[in-house]
């Protein structure tokens, strides 16, 4: 096709790629910019942390009676909606938990949407958990437990992570309450937290 220089200030008949060397065309940018969707993709070196969410539990919760199934710590729960199903979620939690009876055991674990994650392999009839504890004192002591788990939820739906506890042989398990506390300044009320970070896959 002949190239026509119009009096309107435009040129017709010039083919794509007919510009001088080093001119930029849509094809040159096609791998990074989607002209129809106006989006940029294939960017290397970007950050991997896409979002972070946290819940801090400042109140207390007590679990009474030697129950044998895990129960939720109500306010130690956080939800996150992954940006992509290939994302990973780094879950970090720190919980102050203890039983109120010397030498009695309790256990805790992490749940994702009701499914336990990061727990021990099956071993007979023993409780599968992320960790466990036992009050070694019974006079205002607390136990700190923390865990870090990298999860792959494979979803873009809202996902809730919760800390759960069980006490097979401990009469009472408390979160954010010391064993046999007294009401004075030698005893304290602390906090527990759960933090989730979405990491690009």
């Amino acid at each position: 096709m002949a190239i026509t220089i119009n009096g309107t200030g435009s040129i017709s008949g010039l083919s794509a790629g007919g510009l001088p060397n080093s001119s930029v065309t849509a094809a040159d940018l096609a791998t990074v910019q989607d002209w129809s969707g106006k989006t940029i993709s294939n960017i290397g070196g970007g950050g991997k942390v896409l979002q972070i969410q946290q819940a801090v539990m400042t109140d207390t919760q007590s679990f009474s009676g030697g129950f044998t199934t895990f129960e939720d710590v109500t306010n130690l729960s956080v939800s996150i909606t992954p940006s992509a199903s290939t994302s990973k979620v780094l879950v970090m939690y720190s919980v102050m938990i203890t039983g109120n009876t010397f030498g009695r055991r309790y256990a805790f674990r992490l749940s994702r949407g009701g499914t336990a994650i990061g727990i021990h392999d099956s071993a007979g009839s023993k409780t599968r958990a992320s960790g466990c504890g036992m009050p070694l004192d019974s006079n205002g002591v607390m136990d700190f437990h923390s865990n870090t788990i990298l999860d792959s939820p494979a979803t873009t739906s809202a996902t809730t992570y919760k800390v759960q506890v069980v006490c097979n042989d401990s009469p009472t398990v408390n979160v954010n309450i010391a064993s046999n506390e007294a009401d004075n300044g030698n005893h304290s009320r602390p906090v527990s937290s759960i933090t989730v970070m979405e990491i690009a896959g």
Partner: protein
């Protein structure tokens, strides 16, 4: 306007949009590239959220007898926010021993005066409101007990901040950091480390 070809290799008089199809114009880039302010807007999910990270590790030991907040030395992290909208993920961990049946109170503080994130246990009678508390209580012949906390802070400033861990003991006893309260000098006993790590995360 007529199009004019100059002898220096340039063209004058060409109107906007006068190039062939598939040529790139400012409008094509407008949703992602703002040429006037020279900014590039990346799609959601792209671009670093962690702007900086700093860490302090305490390898020595320290004893405490104070009944008011006292800084665990060498756990201070100073950081200057890139933006006032940034949030900070603060991760602290310390190890305690006691010389008797003492209980400690602990917190992560900002500028030695506040609870990070404003978080402390709800009020309950005369009990102290803390972030970490109730350990180690007894000595148990060389034992130490860890305390760890992850908290998010939103300081809303671009001024330099200092985060640190602080503890105190109301029982009148001595609390030790990074050592037990009843140690012997042999391999059955341990000297530990405490640390504080701060991430600045874009808002």
């Amino acid at each position: 306007m007529a199009i004019r070809f100059d002898g220096d290799g340039s063209i004058f008089g060409m109107s906007e949009g006068g190039l062939p199809d598939a040529s790139v114009t400012i409008d094509d880039l407008a949703t992602t590239l703002d040429l006037s302010s020279k900014t590039l807007t990346l799609p959601s999910g792209i671009g670093s959220k962690i702007l900086q990270v700093k860490n302090a590790v305490k390898q020595g030991d320290q004893s405490f007898t104070a009944s008011s907040w006292t800084t665990i030395t060498d756990t201070q992290v100073s950081i200057t926010p890139t933006s006032a909208t940034s949030t900070f993920l603060v991760m602290g961990s310390y190890v305690l021993g006691a010389g008797g049946a003492w209980r400690s109170m602990g917190r992560i503080s900002r500028n030695e005066s506040s609870f990070v994130g404003g978080y402390q246990g709800d009020a309950a009678g005369s009990k102290d409101r803390t972030q970490m508390g109730g350990v180690p209580y007894t000595v148990y012949n060389g034992s130490q007990r860890p305390c760890k906390m992850y908290l998010i802070d939103s300081p809303a400033t671009t001024s330099t901040l200092t985060y640190e861990m602080q503890i105190y003991c109301n029982d009148g006893g001595t609390i030790y950091v990074n050592k037990s309260g009843q140690e012997a000098d042999n391999g059955n006993h341990t000297r530990s480390c405490s640390f504080l790590t701060v991430f600045e995360i874009s808002g």
